[in-house]
């Protein structure tokens, strides 16, 4: 999933976005943040009890470039899980913001 897909879905904290844009190695930081997001999302999906849904979501999460695609698909299968994913991504940003300040 790309940074732009997270940003266009308004899921990136504006403060963190500014810090990333101002960073001299902005592209690398974007990639790193997306990697951290993807790993967090995969961990959250890993906790999902339905094996079939879990498999298809892991496959989608590793294949798609679009966060919105993954979110919509997750919402279709399990609304609660889609909310958990958003919360996990936001929580991760909170940790990054607090530690990097």
């Amino acid at each position: 999933m790309t940074y732009n897909s997270f940003f266009s879905a308004s899921i990136i904290d504006p403060e963190l976005h500014r810090a990333i844009v101002d960073h001299p190695d902005s592209i690398l930081i974007q990639k790193m943040l997306c990697q951290a997001f993807s790993l967090t999302i995969l961990s959250e999906i890993g906790h999902h009890p339905d094996m079939e849904q879990k498999k298809s979501l892991i496959k989608l999460a590793t294949e798609t470039d679009s966060w919105t695609d993954l979110y919509n698909q997750t919402k279709k299968l399990n609304k609660e899980l889609s909310q958990t994913l958003i919360e996990a991504v936001k929580k991760l940003q909170f940790i990054v913001l607090n530690q990097a300040e």
Binding site: H23, I29, S38
Partner: protein
């Protein structure tokens, strides 16, 4: 709050730390997802952002010159970790031939892969070798073409096989594979009878990392034959050069080796010995 309040290097360091923690969490809590990720999105399993910025490099070199004792400790810790990995590796000598437990497998894939600078895995594209721990059989040289002669090979005391390898004669382009050739008993794989052709196509000339756990030696070889036929005693066959490179028949080893598939998705991995030794650059 203005963005200027962020320390650029700190932001990067925090992300490195977060990625490492998430990777560890995924690896330990969901090993199957981690395995899937390694096969399909291996870049997510890497954390190679540790190169310090120019600013940090200068800072670190100043710190190092000011605190030589502290610098020494950091090298010792690294060496300690290295020794720990090799210690755990040596324990594999006592494990019976077959597959190793998943946590151990993931541990060695990660640690040895990092140590050797290549991606190794017990399972690749959903294919795996019949055994991860195997007793090795020292083979004579593989015959590369019908008129191949022993005089055309080094280590002539090993002899020359009279038969054609399972994957056929080697061409000019593939004849170099003979030197570090490996024979794997592919008939031991699950569903061999129904998936024979598929297995042969996938395993043909596939690179395998051979590790001697007790001597801590490693070498990369290529599968060019399906053998040995009887797997009760030996589960892998090695060319004479591979036996030498890995010291497979050292008294401490007695032929017991660890095998991992080499993932070449990120680039070509050369055949031959690979170093497991810790390289510490000493300042003069």
């Amino acid at each position: 709050m203005p963005a200027q309040s962020f320390n650029h290097q700190q932001l990067k360091d925090v992300l490195i730390d977060v990625i490492a923690k998430q990777q560890h969490r995924l690896k330990t809590d969901f090993p199957q997802t981690w395995q899937y990720l390694k096969q399909h999105r291996s870049e997510l399993t890497q954390n190679k952002y540790v190169q310090p910025s120019a600013e940090t490099s200068v800072l670190q070199s100043v710190e190092q010159s000011l605190k030589p004792k502290q610098a020494q400790v950091s090298i010792e810790v690294t060496k300690e970790e290295h020794d720990q990995i090799l210690g755990k590796l040596s324990a594999l000598t006592n494990v019976p031939a077959g597959k190793i437990d998943l946590p151990d497998q993931l541990y060695f894939e990660q640690q040895l892969g990092d140590m050797l600078g290549m991606t190794i895995s017990a399972q690749l594209d959903s294919y795996s070798l019949p055994d991860t721990i195997a007793h090795s059989l020292s083979l004579p040289h593989f015959k590369t073409h019908p008129t191949d002669k022993l005089s055309q090979h080094s280590l002539q005391e090993a002899g020359l096989s009279p038969t054609r390898p399972s994957f056929g004669w080697l061409t000019d382009k593939s004849s170099h594979l003979e030197t570090f050739g490996i024979a794997i008993p592919l008939h031991k794989l699950d569903e061999w009878s129904s998936r024979r052709q598929e297995y042969l196509e996938w395993f043909k000339h596939r690179k395998v990392l051979v590790i001697n756990p007790s001597r801590q030696l490693a070498a990369v070889g290529a599968i060019i034959n399906s053998a040995p036929a009887h797997v009760q005693r030996f589960q892998v066959g090695l060319s004479p050069e591979l036996v030498r490179a890995t010291q497979a028949w050292h008294p401490e080893t007695k032929g017991k080796l660890a095998l991992f598939l080499v993932d070449e998705a990120a680039g070509n991995v050369p055949l031959g010995p690979a170093s497991l030794k810790l390289e510490i650059k000493e300042d003069k």
